[in-house]
Symmetry: C2
Subunit: 896 residues, 2 copies
C-alpha cells in the first residue's frame, strides 16, 4: 500500500484494516496515536476502524473559537465509511455502532487529556446492544460507563460522585467488586447516574448519539487546555499551538467474558532492554482497568496458556511492529471474543539501561545503524545509568518489596501528598512520595520527590511511567505496605512509618529499606561501553572533566574524560591541616609573615598536584589558581561579632577579647558588599602575588618531579576572572620567570600552557587582546551567566528565578542550560575574537553547562575544542557531542 499524501483542507482522516487516509509520517497532523493507528491499518494489522480529526482543528478552534465549516460534513462522511466498515449504525437502536473519542497529540501526554468511551448508547440502543450481544449486564455496564465518563469529562461533574453511587450500590448489595453487580444493579445505577446529571446540570443526559459525539469531541479538544495538560506541557516543553488531534474509533470490548481481555505490552523489556515481548493483561476487563492499576494484571507470557492462538498472533504483530518501526514499541490491545485488536502503538518509553541495550542490540540485529543507535539514546538520561546504587557492602533492613518500576536508589523522608512533597523539597529536604497510587494530579509532587513508592499498580501504572520519564527511582505495586494518606502513615508487617521517617528505595530491585543506606557508583555494562565508543568515533568535540581530587580524576578518566578542564584549588585550602595556615597567611601583617605561612602550605599543595597529575598521566590538566575572596577562609563576621559581644557582657579575659577583636577587624577589612564582584580571582593574584606564586611553584615542582621520573605530564595554569589583558600579562610574566627558575633548579624542561577563564563579559568582548597573551580560553559560564544577567546565583535561585521560570520570562534556568541569546552571544564573540587573534587558540568550557546536552550542542556549534564537566556527566557530554556532530551532518545534507 503506497504511503498516502496529506491533503490540504482535509480535516478528517479515515482508517480501517488495510485502508487508511493517513500514515505515521503525519504525526504532527494526526497526533501520535492517530498516525500510528493509520500506519497499523496500512500494515494490515487489525485495528478497530475509525477516523482522526486533525490537530489543525484544535489550533483552528483556539484561534477562531469555532470549527472549520467543512468539518461537520467530513465527520458525517467518515461516520458513514466507518458504519460500512464495521457493519453497524451509529445511533441505531438495534445494531448500534459504539464509538470511543480519544485525544492524541503530537507527543504523547499520558493521562493528561480526556477520553469518552461507548458513545452511541442510549436508553433504546442499550437494549439493542443487550439483545445483539446477548449480554444484558455487559450492555448496561457499557452504558453506565458512558454516562459516568460523559458526566465527568463532558459535563464536568467530577468522577467522585459517580463512584459514590457505585460504592453505595455495592454496600446495599453486600458485594465488594464492580464485577459482582448484576444487570439489574447496573440498570438502577444508570438511572441514578442520569438523575445525578439532571439534578446537577439541569439537563438530561443526551439520548441522541450524534449530539453525544459532538459534545465529546468538544470536550476532548478542550482538555488540551486543562490545568494538568498545561503543567505537563510546561515541564516537557510541548508547545501550546501544536494542539491535539481527536480519534473517533469503533469500540471493542475486552470485558465480554473470559475469551475477551485487554492489555499493554512492549516489544522488549522497557526496564532492562531484554529481547522478547513484555507486558501485562487482564481477562474480561476494559483497558482502563490495566492502566489504573486497580486490579493487578498478569504478565503477558501467561496469555499463552489462556489463549494460545491470540498470544501467537500478538507475538507476531509485536515483531512486525518492531521491524517496521525499527524501535521498541509500546502497544495496547484488546481481545473481543477471541479476536485481537491493536488499539495503539508508539515508541516505547524505556529506562536508560534499556535504551542503551536496545540500541546496541538493534545494531547487532542490523535493524539500525550505529549512528541511529546513538540518536536513540538521550544523553541526559545517561545520568541515571551512572547514578549511584546501594552500596553492596551495606547491611540493611528490607521492609517490603515491590515492582522495580524505575531504577536508581534514593533516600529521603516519607511524605504522603504531592503538596507536602513540594513544600519540604522547597526547604531543601529530600523526600520520598508514598501513595496508594498516583494520578496526573500528583505530577508536581513526583517532580519534587527523590523517589516514588506506590502500593498498587504495575510496571505500566501511572507512577511507573511518569517516574521513568522523569528518570526517578520508583517502586510500584508494593502491596505489602498499607498506605493511609489521610493519617499520614503507612504500615508494613506491623511497622508504622510516619511523615519524616527516613526510608531508602532501590528502584532497580524493588526493595524498600528502612533508614539510610549508603550508595556507590554504578558499573556501566558492555553495551554502554560499546555505545560510548561509537559516540567517540563520531564526535569531534573533546570532553574533559572538572576534578579537584585524585579520586575524581580517576573516575573521570574511567568515564572517558580526555583531560581535566578545571581543577579548582580552593578546596585544598579548606583541609583541617591547612586552614590554620591559610588563615595565618591571610591575617599576615606583611609579605614576610605571609610567605612563612605559604611556605608551610606549598609542600601540601605540591602533593595535591602531584597526585592529580599522576592520575592524569598523558592527558592535560588545567589547574585554576585560587579564585574565591579571602574572607571565605575566615570565621563568619556576624558570628564573631556576637561572640565578642557575648565575651564582653560576660566580662571575659581582656586578652581573649582583644585577640578576637583583632581578628574581627581583619575580617571586617576583607568583608565585601558584593563578594561575587569583589576582591577575588586574578585580582588576588595581582594584589597578593605571593599566593599565586606559591601555587605556581607547587604545580611546577610537582610536574618537574614527575617528569624527572619519565612520566608524561601536561600541566596548564588557568588564571580566573580576567577582565583586562594586562592582568593576565602581568601575572604571566611573573609566573614564567618563576617557572624558568624551577626548571633550572630541577634540571628539566617541559611544555606547559598558561591560559585564562573567560567568565566576565569584558573578557569575552576583548577576547582578541586577551588571546594575544593566553595559550587557551576556558569559558566559565557560571560566572559569565551571573554577570551577563546581573543575577547572583545564590540570591536568584531562592528568590526571583523560580518566579521567572514560572512566569515564562525565562524558558530555562540559565545556570543549568546556557542562555544562547545573551551568554551564548558573548561566547560567540569571545570565540570569534579569540581565534581572530590566535588562529589555533584552544577553547573550552568548564562551567556546569559543560555537561548539559543542549549546551554541549551549542559548544560544538560555536567551534569549541572541548567541554569540561563533572566526572559523572562525561558520558552525557560524549554522547551529546556525538549527537551534535550527527545533527550538523544532517543539516549539512539537507542544505545540499
Amino acid at each position: 500500500m503506497a504511503e498516502p499524501k496529506r491533503k490540504r483542507g482535509l480535516f478528517v482522516y479515515f482508517f480501517a484494516q488495510n485502508e487508511a487516509d493517513g500514515c505515521r509520517a503525519m504525526r504532527n497532523l494526526l497526533g501520535g496515536k492517530g498516525a500510528n493507528l493509520a500506519e497499523m491499518a496500512r500494515l494490515g494489522i487489525r485495528v478497530p476502524p475509525g477516523f482522526t480529526i486533525t490537530t489543525e482543528v484544535c489550533s483552528y478552534f483556539a484561534q477562531h473559537r469555532s470549527y472549520p465549516k467543512s468539518l461537520s460534513g467530513e465527520i458525517s462522511h467518515n461516520l458513514q465509511r466507518l458504519e460500512a466498515a464495521v457493519g453497524k449504525k451509529f445511533g441505531n437502536a438495534d445494531n448500534p455502532l459504539l464509538l470511543s473519542v480519544r485525544s492524541g497529540a503530537r507527543i504523547s501526554m499520558p493521562g493528561m487529556m480526556d477520553t469518552v468511551l461507548n458513545l452511541g448508547l442510549s436508553d433504546t440502543a442499550v437494549r439493542g446492544l443487550a439483545k445483539q450481544t446477548d449480554d444484558e449486564r455487559c450492555a448496561y455496564d457499557a452504558y453506565r460507563r458512558l454516562i459516568q465518563m460523559f458526566g465527568n469529562v463532558v459535563l464536568g461533574l467530577g468522577g467522585r460522585k459517580f463512584e459514590e453511587l457505585i460504592e453505595k450500590k455495592k454496600a446495599v448489595r453486600g458485594v465488594k467488586e464492580d464485577i459482582d453487580l448484576t444487570a439489574e444493579d447496573l440498570k438502577d445505577l444508570v438511572d441514578r447516574f442520569k438523575e445525578l446529571i439532571a439534578k446537577e446540570r439541569g439537563a438530561d443526559f443526551p439520548q441522541d448519539a450524534f449530539r453525544q459525539l459532538d459534545m465529546a469531541k468538544d470536550a476532548v479538544f478542550a482538555s488540551w487546555n486543562n490545568r494538568r495538560a498545561i503543567n505537563y506541557r510546561r515541564i516537557h516543553k510541548i508547545r501550546e499551538q501544536w494542539g491535539t488531534a481527536v480519534n473517533v474509533q469503533s469500540m471493542v470490548f475486552g470485558n465480554m467474558g473470559e475469551d475477551s481481555g485487554t492489555g499493554v505490552g512492549f516489544t522488549r523489556n522497557p526496564a532492562t532492554g531484554e529481547r522478547g515481548i513484555y507486558g501485562e493483561y487482564l481477562l474480561n476487563a476494559q483497558g482502563e482497568d490495566v492502566v489504573a492499576g486497580i486490579r493487578t494484571p498478569r504478565p503477558l507470557p501467561l496469555l499463552k496458556e489462556d489463549m494460545s492462538g491470540v498470544y501467537e498472533e500478538l507475538v507476531s504483530v509485536a515483531q512486525r511492529l518492531e521491524e517496521h518501526y525499527r524501535d521498541v514499541q509500546d502497544f495496547e490491545f484488546t481481545i473481543e471474543k477471541g479476536v485481537l485488536y491493536l488499539l495503539q502503538t508508539r515508541a516505547g518509553k524505556r529506562t536508560i539501561q534499556a535504551a542503551v541495550r536496545v540500541a546496541t542490540d538493534m545494531v547487532e540485529e542490523k535493524l539500525i545503524s550505529k549512528e541511529e543507535a546513538l540518536r536513540r539514546v538521550e544523553p541526559a538520561q545517561l545520568d541515571q545509568l551512572l547514578h549511584r546504587r546501594l552500596d553492596p557492602r551495606e547491611k540493611f533492613e528490607v521492609i517490603a518489596e515491590g515492582l522495580p518500576a524505575s531504577p536508581g536508589a534514593a533516600t529521603g523522608e516519607v511524605v504522603f501528598t504531592a503538596d507536602r512533597a513540594v513544600e519540604l523539597a522547597t526547604d531543601g529536604r529530600k523526600v520520598i512520595l508514598v501513595r496508594r497510587e498516583t494520578s496526573p494530579e500528583d505530577i508536581h509532587g513526583m517532580a519534587a520527590a527523590e523517589a516514588i513508592l506506590t502500593s498498587r499498580g504495575g510496571m505500566t501504572s501511572h507512577a511507573a511511567v511518569v517516574a521513568r520519564g522523569m528518570g526517578k527511582c520508583c517502586i510500584a505495586g508494593c502491596e505489602a505496605i498499607k498506605v493511609d494518606e489521610e493519617k499520614g502513615k503507612f504500615e508494613v508487617n506491623g511497622l508504622i512509618l510516619k511523615e519524616g521517617d527516613l526510608i531508602t528505595l532501590d528502584g532497580s530491585t524493588g526493595k524498600v529499606i528502612k533508614g539510610v543506606v549508603h550508595t556507590v557508583e554504578p558499573v556501566p555494562g558492555d553495551d554502554f561501553r560499546r555505545l560510548m565508543k561509537w559516540a567517540d568515533e563520531v564526535r569531534t568535540l573533546g570532553v574533559r572533566a572538572n576534578a579537584d581530587t585524585p579520586e575524581d580524576a580517576r573516575i573521570a578518566r574511567e568515564l572517558g574524560a580526555e583531560g581535566i578542564g578545571l581543577c579548582r584549588t580552593e578546596h585544598m585550602f579548606f583541609g583541617e591541616d591547612r586552614l590554620p595556615h591559610v588563615q595565618r597567611m591571610i591575617l599576615a601583617e606583611d609579605p614576610e609573615e605571609r610567605e612563612k605561612a605559604l611556605k608551610i602550605l606549598e609542600p601540601m599543595q605540591r602533593q595535591d598536584f602531584k597526585k592529580i597529575l599522576k592520575e592524569m598521566e598523558g592527558l592535560p590538566v588545567i589547574i585554576r589558581l585560587l579564585d574565591p575572596p579571602l574572607h571565605e577562609f575566615l570565621p563568619n563576621h556576624e558570628e564573631l561579632m556576637l561572640e565578642i559581644n557575648d565575651l564582653k557582657l560576660k566580662a571575659a579575659d581582656e586578652k581573649l577579647i582583644e585577640e578576637k577583636e583583632r581578628l574581627l577587624h581583619r575580617v571586617e577589612s576583607l568583608r565585601e558588599m558584593n563578594p561575587m564582584l569583589g576582591h577575588r580571582g586574578c585580582r588576588l593574584g595581582v594584589t597578593f602575588p605571593e599566593v599565586y606564586m606559591m601555587q605556581t611553584r607547587a604545580v611546577f615542582e610537582a610536574a618537574a618531579e614527575l617528569i624527572s621520573q619519565k612520566r608524561e605530564i601536561y600541566p596548564e595554569i588557568m588564571i580566573p576572572l580576567v577582565a583586562h589583558e594586562r592582568e593576565l600579562s602581568i601575572l604571566r610574566n611573573e609566573m614564567e620567570d618563576l617557572i624558568d627558575e624551577i626548571m633550572e633548579e630541577k634540571g628539566v624542561s617541559f611544555e606547559y600552557k598558561i591560559g585564562t577563564m573567560i567568565e566576565l563579559p569584558r573578557a569575552a568582548l576583548c577576547a582578541d587582546r586577551i588571546a594575544a597573551v593566553a595559550d587557551f580560553f576556558s569559558f566559565g559560564t557560571n560566572d559569565l551567566t551571573q554577570t551577563t544577567f546581573g543575577f547572583s546565583r545564590d540570591d536568584a535561585e531562592g528568590k526571583f528565578l523560580p518566579i521567572y521560570i514560572k512566569k515564562k520570562i525565562l524558558d530555562d534556568d540559565p545556570f543549568e542550560v546556557i542562555d544562547q541569546e545573551g551568554v551564548g552571544e558573548l561566547i560567540r564573540i569571545g570565540t570569534r575574537k579569540g581565534r581572530q587573534a590566535k588562529e589555533n587558540l584552544e577553547i573550552g568550557i568548564c562551567g556546569e553547562h559543560g555537561g548539559e546536552p543542549s549546551s554541549v550542542k551549542f559548544c560544538h556549534g560555536v567551534g569549541m575544542d572541548y567541554v569540561s564537566c563533572s566526572p559523572y556527566r562525561v558520558p552525557i557530554a560524549r554522547l551529546a557531542a556525538a549527537h551534535a556532530k550527527l545533527e550538523e551532518e544532517e543539516a549539512g545534507q539537507r542544505k545540499q
Copy 2:
C-alpha cells in the same frame, strides 16, 4: 621669513634673533620651549641665542642607552654658530660665553625637570667675566650658582647642603639676605662649594666648559625619568616615550644692577581673563627668584616707572605674541642692562573664568572664530566655574588675606605636610594643605587636598600654577600667616591654628576664614552664557540632567538641560514621613496589607512627581521606577542582631524581643549575598507588582492633573535592570492597562513613553528584542560597568581598583571614564541592535559618565540622542558635545 622644514636626521636646531632652524610647528620635536624660542626668533623678537637638542635624542637614548653618533658633531657646530651670534667664546677665560641648559617637553611640566645655568664658568673664566663686566660680585655669584646647581642637578648632592653653607656664611657675616654677601664672601663660598663636591663625590667640580655642558645635558635628559616627572606624567597622562628636548642657550643676567631684572607675564589676566598685560617682575634678580616666591615681586605696570622704554617694548612684544599665536601667552623675560630678552612664551594657563572670557573676547576681537573659542575651553574645567562659592549671606571671620591664586571655595582641616594630606584624605576627610611655599615634591598632597594656602609666592608661584591646573582653590602669598610646618601650626595675628582645625578658603578673593562657611551655587556670567549658546548651536547631541527633586530640576533647567534623563524614585522613599510606610509595605505578609501601605505612599509620590513635572514643563521627564533591593529600607541586619542579643542578655521585655525578632527574620529573608546582582530593579516589579503599579499610578495621576490644567507635560517611565525582553513586556502590559484606566478616570489622553535602562550585558546583547517593546533606551553605565568588569564599585574602589590604576592595568577608573573597549563595545552593540529593530529608537546615557567629556565624545560617536548627567555637569556636557561635533567635522574634512 618662510617657515623652516624639519630635517630628518638633524638632532640640533639653532635659533637667534631673525634666524631659526625650527618653528612652533615643531613642538613635538623641539618641545614647547624650544619651538617657541625658534618661533620668537623668526618673529624678530630678541631671544638669547641658542640651540635645541631634539626630543628624538631623549627617546634614542632611552632605547639605546647611548646618543646618536652625529650628535656631538652637531652640538659643536651649533656652539660655533652660537659663539658667532653672541660674539663670545665658550670655555674662553677672557670673553666667556655662558650657557643655560634647560629641559623642554612637548607639554609643559613646570618645575618637574632640571635646569643648569651659567655653564662655561671656571676658576679662570670667572675672573675673565668679572673683568669683562666689571662686576666681581656678580661674576662670583654666577659661579657659585653654577657650582650649586651643578652639584645638585648633575652630581645629585641635594640643594640643602649648599644652602646650609650660605646660611652659615650669612650668620658669620651677620647679614640677612644673599644680596648682602660681598664678592669676597662669594669667592669663599665657591671654595667651600668645591670642597663639598670634592668631599662628597671624590672628584673635583669640572673646570672644562665642554665637560660641564656634556654632563649638564646628560643630567637634564635624565631628569625626564625622575620620580617627580614620572608622577606628573601619570597625573597628566603624558606619554613616557615622548621624551624631552634640551635647550642650550646663552645666558642673560637680570641681576646686573638696577637696570636689569627679570619677570613673568601674561598677555591677559590669567585669573579673570581681563585684557591687558599682567605679571610680576623683580629688579636685579635672576629668573628663579620670581618663580621660587622667595622675594615678593612687583606687578608689571610698575615697570613703566622703573624702565618706561623697556615696558613699552614689553607691551608691544606681548601684543605681537598674542596676535601671532591668537591666544593668551605666558612669557618670561629678562632685562640685562636695559636690554629686553624674551626667554619663553607659551599658551597661558588660565582659570576657567579667564578661559571663557578670553575665548569670547577674542571672538569679539575677531582674533578667533566661535568654533575656535569653543575649542579653547576645556569642558571638564567648567565644573570649577559652576562650583560653589561662599554664601554671601553668611557672616564669617576673615583671619587673613592672600593672593586669589585659583578660584573656588573650600572648607577643610588644616594639614601641614603633603603626606599627612594624603593620609587624612584617604580616610575620607577634607583637608587644606597649608605651606610656606610648595614645591614639586608636594604634588601628591596638593592633589589630595581640597585647597592650598601658602604664605609666600605670587600668582605664578608653584602653588598657584599647579592649583589652577588642578582646578583647586588656592590662596598664595598670604604673608600675614606664619607657618611652622615642623610644629604643625600656623599663627596669624596671635591666633594659633593646628592640624585638624577647620578653615575655609575663598580662592576668588584670597580670603582665609576661620571655621566652616556655607557655600552657594555660582552665578555664571554673560560670557559663559554666550559660549554655551555657541556650543548649543554646534552640538547635535542632546543634554539632559539626572535630577530627583524639583530643586535639582530647576537648577538643571537653568544650566541648559533639555529634559530629565533620570529621575530616581528611591530617595523619595527615605523621607522621614515615608520610611515607616515603606517598611510596613515591605514587611507586609500579604498583598492586601502591602496595598494598604502603598495607598498611603501613593499621594506623596504623586506630589513629588507633580512638582518635578511642573518644573520641567515642555520637556521630557524620565522617571525610573524603584531600583534598590528592599532590604535597603530596613534596619541593618547586624545592628538588629546585636540589639536583640543585648535585649536578651538584659532580660528585656519578651514582647519587644519577639517583635524585634520578627523584624530580624524578615530582614534576614530579604538579605542577599550580592545585592548588586540580587532582587532589585524590574525583578521587584515582576515579583511585587503592587509597588511599580503604585508608582505608575502616581506618575500618571500627577501628569493627568497637570495636563488638565493645560500644561505641556511629557512623562516617561523607565524600567531598571531589564535582562530579558519579557520582563519589560510583562510590566509594560500591566502599566498600559493601568494608564488607560487613569486616563479614562481623569478624562484626558496624552502621549507617554515606556522605556528601559540598558545596564546589564545581556540587555545590550539582546537589544534588538528589547527594542521591540521599548520606546527608549538609557544606558546605565554605572551598573553596566560593574557587570561588564565584574567589579563591585563599593568593593573595588576601596580595594583593588587603586592598585589596578597604579599598576597601569587600567588607564582610568572605569566608573569615571567609560571603558571604551569593553563597556563601550556593549554600548555599540546595544545601539546598533536597538536601532536595527527600531530605527528611531531614542537612545541616551544616564550613568555618571554622561558628564565626563571623553565619555560624552564617545556617546556622540556611537550616535546617541542625548547624555544625561548631574545638573552641574550639564554645561560640561554641552561643551563636550560641541567639541565632539567639531572634532567629527575636522576628521571628516581630513578624510576628504
